[in-house]
Structures are given as structure tokens and as C-alpha cells.
Symmetry: C2
Subunit: 243 residues, 2 copies
């Protein structure tokens, strides 16, 4: 079985770092990548700062098969992601005819002026492929392995929807989750033995507190169905009360 492609997400967002806004895009994309069989390995949030974005794009795009970015591609002065991504790859950037045509057609329909600020959204690096934005027209783009998308969740989601079907996924990692209403300190011993006996299955223990009671969701993950089933059976035998 070929290894699943790997990915990172880079959120450009002062407003996330200040606590003003709660990031919703990483969770949405994480779920979609898992379904697609692309392994999300790292998420970073950096501020709206040119050098920070350039450094993060270089680090993440060189390390993983795909990098997905969110935020900073609008028309205002603090929208600097397109320039930073272009700089990270040493690609020239300017208003591109294809992107300008998309914006022109969109604004003509509503009789809105394609002013200088809006024209900023047609700045696309040379060599990049556009990502459709059926909501507000201004496209995202893919430059090499880096997919640059909007920060507004509705637009981010529709861009992910345009983009993901074009990417090649891997064999999806199968998973099964068991809910055990016991403190992790009682689960840990047997779980550790089961994990050692099923080395190809990855077992994660995610504790929770609900109504003042401790418990954990044990998630078993494996690319192979039979191995996963064997691991889960062992869990059920050790924790017959598991839900």
C-alpha cells in the first residue's frame, strides 16, 4: 500500500491569535483530508506578517506533499498572503488577465466598479492555477504544492470543495472509536498491552470529563481492515462495557 500523501495547514490570522475569532477552517479541512486519505501532519497559525508567512510557507511546503493556506487574499491593505506565497517560491506576481476577467465578469453583473482595491484580488503568481470561488468570484490559487484559499469560512469551504476532487488521496486510514466510562488511569495498563500486541494499529486515548465523571474515547486507526478489527476486538474483550 503506498503511503498516504501528507499535508499541513497554514492559517494567516492576527484575529485568531488575538482570540477575537475562533478558527473554523482547520477543523473543516482536517475532516475532509482524513476522508480523502490525505494525512494532515501539522497546523500553524501565524500573524499577518510578510516574513512570517514566507518562512512558514517555505518550511511547510518543503516538508509535506500539500500545504493549504487560509486567509489574507482579500482586497484590503492587510491582505498580503498572495505576495508572500509568491515570494516563498520566488515566483513573479502581478494582476493576471485570467483572474481579472473573472472579477470583471462578476462585478459587471451587479454593476459594481472593479476598483483598485478589488483588482488586488487578481494578483496571482506566475505559474499558479486558479481555484474557483463561486461565492465572491475572487479566486484562490495553487502554486506548486501550495493551495491558497480565503479565510471567510463559507468561501474557504467552497474553495476546498473545488480543489479536493482534483487531488490524489491515499488509502484512507480506517478508524474505530470506543467510549469507555472509566478514568484513563484504569484504561492505561490494558490499553498499553493491547497497543504492544497490535503494532500496526495506532491507539489514541482522548480523555473527557462529562457530568463530573472521567472517561476516554479510545480511537484505533489502521489502513488494514482485518488488523483494525483484531485491535478493536481486543479492546472490547478488555473493556466489555465500552460503548
Amino acid at each position: 500500500m503506498p503511503a498516504a500523501p501528507t499535508a499541513a495547514i497554514l492559517i494567516i490570522g492576527d484575529e485568531i491569535l488575538s482570540g477575537r475569532t475562533r478558527d473554523a477552517n482547520t477543523h473543516f479541512l482536517a475532516e475532509n483530508l482524513t476522508e480523502k486519505g490525505i494525512g494532515l501532519r501539522e497546523i500553524r497559525v501565524v500573524s499577518d506578517d510578510h516574513d512570517e508567512i514566507v518562512a512558514a510557507v517555505r518550511a511547510l511546503s518543503s516538508r509535506y506533499d500539500h500545504l493549504f493556506t487560509s486567509g489574507g487574499i482579500g482586497p484590503t491593505h492587510d491582505d498580503i498572503t498572495a505576495e508572500a506565497v509568491a515570494a516563498a517560491f520566488g515566483a513573479p506576481i502581478g494582476v493576471r488577465d485570467d483572474a481579472r476577467a473573472i472579477l470583471q465578469a462578476h462585478y459587471q453583473k451587479s454593476g459594481t466598479e472593479l476598483n483598485t482595491a478589488r483588482l488586488r484580488m487578481a494578483r496571482i503568481p506566475d505559474g499558479a492555477t486558479l481555484i474557483d470561488n463561486p461565492i465572491s468570484a475572487a479566486p484562490g490559487f495553487t502554486l506548486q504544492n501550495t493551495h491558497v484559499m480565503a479565510g471567510v469560512p463559507a468561501i474557504f469551504q467552497i474553495m476546498v470543495g473545488s480543489l479536493l476532487p482534483k487531488l490524489t488521496g491515499g488509502a484512507p486510514v480506517l478508524s474505530q472509536s470506543l467510549r469507555i466510562e472509566r478514568p484513563e488511569g484504569e484504561i492505561a495498563g490494558p490499553l498499553s498491552e493491547i497497543a504492544a500486541a497490535h503494532p500496526k494499529v495506532s491507539f489514541g486515548s482522548y480523555p473527557f470529563i462529562q457530568n463530573g465523571r472521567f472517561g476516554a474515547n479510545i480511537v484505533a486507526r489502521c489502513q488494514d481492515r482485518a488488523m483494525l478489527d483484531a485491535g478493536v476486538s481486543a479492546l472490547r474483550a478488555a473493556f466489555p462495557e465500552a460503548g
Copy 2:
């Protein structure tokens, strides 16, 4: 005015990367840091992997005044954060008497056994200070500038509550937000001029779509009240309809 201390957050969490769980801790801590006058500059999420955690702890702790970590300090085999943080700083780690005493007292009260798995939670690096956990006793710790806390949100939050009052904050960054129900493409031009005329005020534009209409929240930030007020007045003059 002295510069505000800087910080990063590192989330150790396969379950966030897989999309299974939605991270709540970064948003909570981001809000608290801003209130405290500590500037959060970066957030990373990495997988439950020793080398990944070590690399991220080294990179972030050397770059910022504080590093806060969340996750991976429970009793199960996949809880490897304490070892990784110790390794990042080259600190020896083992079961420490003070931490063991806390766990012993806690479990004795409920007549619960302090078994081998639970004793893992008393593994604390040499030289670290404990962080109180009034919910389930198992302490977090501060090693140098790195604050290691639990992933379960209720415990993370109470640890943040124990820890933050002990840290020195900076002059808080003052901010004011205006909601403008116009597309960003119309806001961008005047906003760019206002930003240029008020160089000490940072203006961020955070677009939204609500009921199919486009708008943006414009957030002005500055450490100086008079400068902030001047910037906001300019915004109100340019956008009299702003809420």
C-alpha cells in the same frame, strides 16, 4: 513602554489533526493572553510523535518569551509530552516525590489505587515547577519558559487559571472594532489611507458574509489610547454607518 512579552501555543494532538476533535484550548488561551498583555504570535498543532514535539518545543521556546503546550500528559502510552519537553531542554525526567505525593493524597481520598499508569503522571523534569490541577490532581509543569498543561479543556482552563496570575504581562494592546456592512472592496481604499495616516495603529479587516450580504469588522489596535481614538475617529468619519 516596554514591549509586551510574546508567546506561542503548541497543541499535541493527533485527534485535532484527524478532524475528530475540535480544538477549544487555543481560543481560550488566546483570549486570556490578550487580556494579560502577552502577545500570542504563533500556534502549532503537531502529532503525538516524540521527535515532532521535541522539534516544535525547541523552535518555539527559543523564539518567544513563553511557550504553552496542551495535551499528552495523561497516564496512557500515547502521553509522551513530558518526556519530549524534558528532551527538548536536555533535562532528566523521572517520577518526582512532590508530584507523587500530590497523586497519592488525591487517590487515597477516593480509595483508588495509584497504579503504574497513574504514576506516569508524576514524571516531571528536574528543575520544573508544578502547575496546580484542582480537578484531577495530576500536575502540569513549567520548565524554563515552557508551560506544559493538559489537553482536556476543563483541566487546561483551570491550569491556565493557576498559571497566568504568576506571569508578568505587558501593557495590554487596546483595540476597538467597527462593523461595516459593505463589501471589503469598497472599504479597502479609504481604510488603506487611514492606515497610512495612523502608522502606530494596526488596522485589520476581517470580512464576513451574513444573510448573503458582505461586510467586514475593522479592528484597530494600539497600545496608546489617544492614538487609537484618533484612528477610530478617522474610521467613523469615513464610514459613518459603521456599527
